[in-house]
């Protein structure tokens, strides 16, 4: 890739990305409002007592007494000025609510991502290197098992073994609450809480990466340039790393790009089972409560993230394989 092409490419992609995000915002807004029920009726339903005045007060406060197109226009204006709005239900700004949850989500999904990618590529490479031998069979069986098992079940089983039977790890939450801790103690405490949910979330992707790496490595290993390298007398380890693995990584990167785009979205299932205070749950609970601004805020952040990671993936291709050119 020539350095001179990059700024133009980035600019074109940024304009496209902005348009895509805007379209997503409008679609989200309409979809969310198409769901039956509104926040006022939810609150009335949960309060055990209500009257018409109460519903009217709430709808007015939430801005729901305006026609839908006016609400959409107000929302678009505020999003364009990077203001994600205000949750009347929770009496807090959406940006604050999302930012509060962001570190927990990034920690969980980031740990799961790193674990899955590193573990998956390593296992896949090991399996490809020992294809047809017992190590390959074991890795394949493990990968298939995690690929086919539902996440929540894995989570519950891990809790059963490590929290209930062995009593090694806590079964829920992100940290111990109400205990005085400092420095490394805090890190250790969070790490203990992180282990089970990160494993649960990571195991599925680990299986995907392992299978993908193994399959593409075997494909690449048969190609002429590998035979040439071998004929030249390049050491086997170097062939594997520099020739086979590097070429086999492209599909893995594609998939990792997709997964990375979802990092911000968190995982509703794992966050729920482990009571992890992340964004996935924030969005899910906002959906149940018809807390429109929060739901739209989360959607907005995740869509921006997906667009960003697509861009990043495209650029990574070019770095790993110089034959690939970036184009707007």
């Amino acid at each position: 890739m020539e350095a001179s092409k990059l700024p133009g490419f980035l600019l074109r992609r940024a304009v496209k990305a902005a348009l895509v995000v805007l379209a997503i915002v409008v679609c989200n807004f309409l979809l969310v409002h198409a769901a039956p029920g509104d926040p006022a009726s939810v609150i009335a339903g949960q309060s055990g007592a209500a009257d018409a005045v109460f519903l009217e007060q709430l709808r007015k406060q939430f801005g729901l007494d305006q026609p839908l197109y006016v609400q959409l226009w107000i929302y678009l204006k505020s999003v364009l000025s990077l203001d994600l709005g205000f949750s009347h239900r929770q009496q807090a700004s959406v940006a604050q609510l999302v930012l509060e949850r962001l570190p927990a989500t990034l920690l969980l999904t980031g740990a799961a991502f790193a674990f899955a990618l590193a573990g998956g590529v390593t296992l896949g490479a090991l399996a490809a290197q020992r294809v047809g031998r017992w190590a390959d069979s074991i890795i394949t069986v493990i990968a298939l098992t995690f690929y086919a098992t539902p996440l929540f079940w894995v989570g519950l089983m891990l809790v059963l073994v490590f929290s209930v039977w062995l009593e090694w790890l806590p079964s829920f939450g992100m940290s111990s609450v109400g205990v005085e801790m400092h420095g490394l103690e805090v890190v250790w405490d969070v790490a203990q809480h992180l282990l089970l949910p990160a494993l649960t979330l990571g195991l599925f992707y680990l299986a995907v990466y392992a299978r993908l790496t193994r399959a593409t490595m075997l494909e690449v290993a048969d190609q002429d340039f590998v035979k040439t390298a071998r004929a030249k007398g390049v050491p086997e380890g170097r062939i594997l790393r520099a020739h086979v693995l590097r070429n086999a990584l492209l599909p893995v990167i594609t998939f990792a790009g997709i997964q990375a785009g979802q990092l911000l979205g968190g995982s509703i299932l794992v966050e729920t089972v482990f009571a992890w205070p992340g964004i996935g749950r924030l969005a899910f609970e906002a959906l149940l409560a018809r807390d429109y601004p929060v739901l739209l805020g989360v959607f907005f952040c995740t869509s921006v993230m997906v667009v960003l990671f697509n861009l990043l993936t495209d650029m990574l291709y070019a770095i790993i394989d110089p034959r690939v050119e970036v184009a707007g």
Partner: protein, 529 residues
Amino acid sequence: MTVSRRGLLAATAAAPALMRVQDALAQGIAPRRGGTLTTILSPEPPVLQIGVNNQGPTLVAAGKIFQGLLTFSPTLEPIPVLAKSWTISPDGKEYVFKLQEGVKFHDGHPMTAEDVIFSIMKFHMEVAPRARAIFALIDKAEAPDPLTVRLTLKQPFQPFLLMFDNSACAIVPKHLFDGQDYRTAPAVQKPVGTGPFRFAEWQRGNFIRLERFADYWKPGQPYLDAIIYRIVPDSQSRRLAIETGQVLLTQGSDIEPFDVPALRSRPNLEVSTKGWEYFSPLAWIELNHRVKPLDDVRVRQAISMAIDRNFITQRLWFGVGKPATNPIASTTRFHDASAKIAGHDVKAAVALLDAAGLKPNAQGVRFTLKHLTLPYGEVWSRLAEYLKQSLRQVGIALELESTDAGSWARRVGAWEYDTTINFVYQFGDPTLGVERTYVSTNIQKVTFTNTGGYSNPKVDELFATARNAADPKDRQAAFSAVQKILCEEVPQIWLMEMAFPTIHDKKLRNAISTGLGVHASFDDVFLTA
């Protein structure tokens, strides 16, 4: 005569609270200072300001931060809280409350009669629909001195005192709300009350931490240093949390009924269904009377007889709760045990449907109804499946529709359903919590009104008589008569007097000491060593 009896009631009102401490001492357990109670809150409340939000979990956690003038024993006798004593005039129109001395809000401001009057006449009147309906009866609210509140009613209203529990009328600080929009005032985010615990920290989605209020007005109390509410959204994770001792207390619908038997058998845990007497939720199949043939009394009677309430209570709820016998729960005032709905009788149900002229088709189906499943957890889905099976036996086909809480509330509020399940708090007195479901003046497009659309002038008249009568005897006569009529007409199919399991470690003492159970302030709760 009446004066002296009421005066006596006020004078002896302090007795239950004193007795609780004496009971504990008699058992040889002195309250111990210190320790943190870790428990669960689910679902997470949006805000912790009672009045602005009145959901179950809000009332549980904010019940430690705020206090009312009174609270109530399991038999619904008033217990003094912020009101030290009170008197009621012979004509039942004037209520005078003497306030406790030395009560401070968490920000150091003393609590006075001004705060009480502001809370009743302005704050709850504006934000809380339940309070608004009752407090509109107040003609005058005066503070003859900083520790006395005198309320004069336009007409006698016998259940009036029940409105002064914390869950109905929490006393809020006037200086933090007056002149602002009560729903958006900064104090809603950082609640300030007079309760034994002050708001310390809230990491959304994670936990709420309340800490001991050192200037609490009861000397030496509270005993606990802190209460931590963990937010745990999954019911199986909640069960594991109490089983493994990661939390010491669960409440409300934290634990699914089918998990209760396993927890009952654990030696370190205590399971109780007490502490819901004030609310006394009653569950029923809600019928939309606009949908034919539900307007036919024989059809409603048949549905009621086709259902085995013992099965529901024992097999679906595992003994948490008891079968309903009439529209007023047995723990609510004026329940008349002699008024009873007909028991489980499939044959009689079939005969009634035949008499109504609803002939079964080739598949044995007389008619089909839609049923909106209550989206509040697994047990309600199981109930819907049971109803489907038992109604099919008498030739009524039930088509189950699933939904989420938002859609459920909207559809019930808009009368867009054939049948669903509803459960409604009774708040101690039929005028406060039962009347609203049956009187034709309350047919509204709002949840928890008479959404079914039942209408009977005689029932309207009897509820009005009971509401306006000053003498409990007259009220009882009217309520007894209305219970008999309703048991004949079964406008809704009452299923169960609900209770929720409170499960706690035996180290935790006094978790349930009033008719409000875990909603109480917990100033007398302690952990044994």
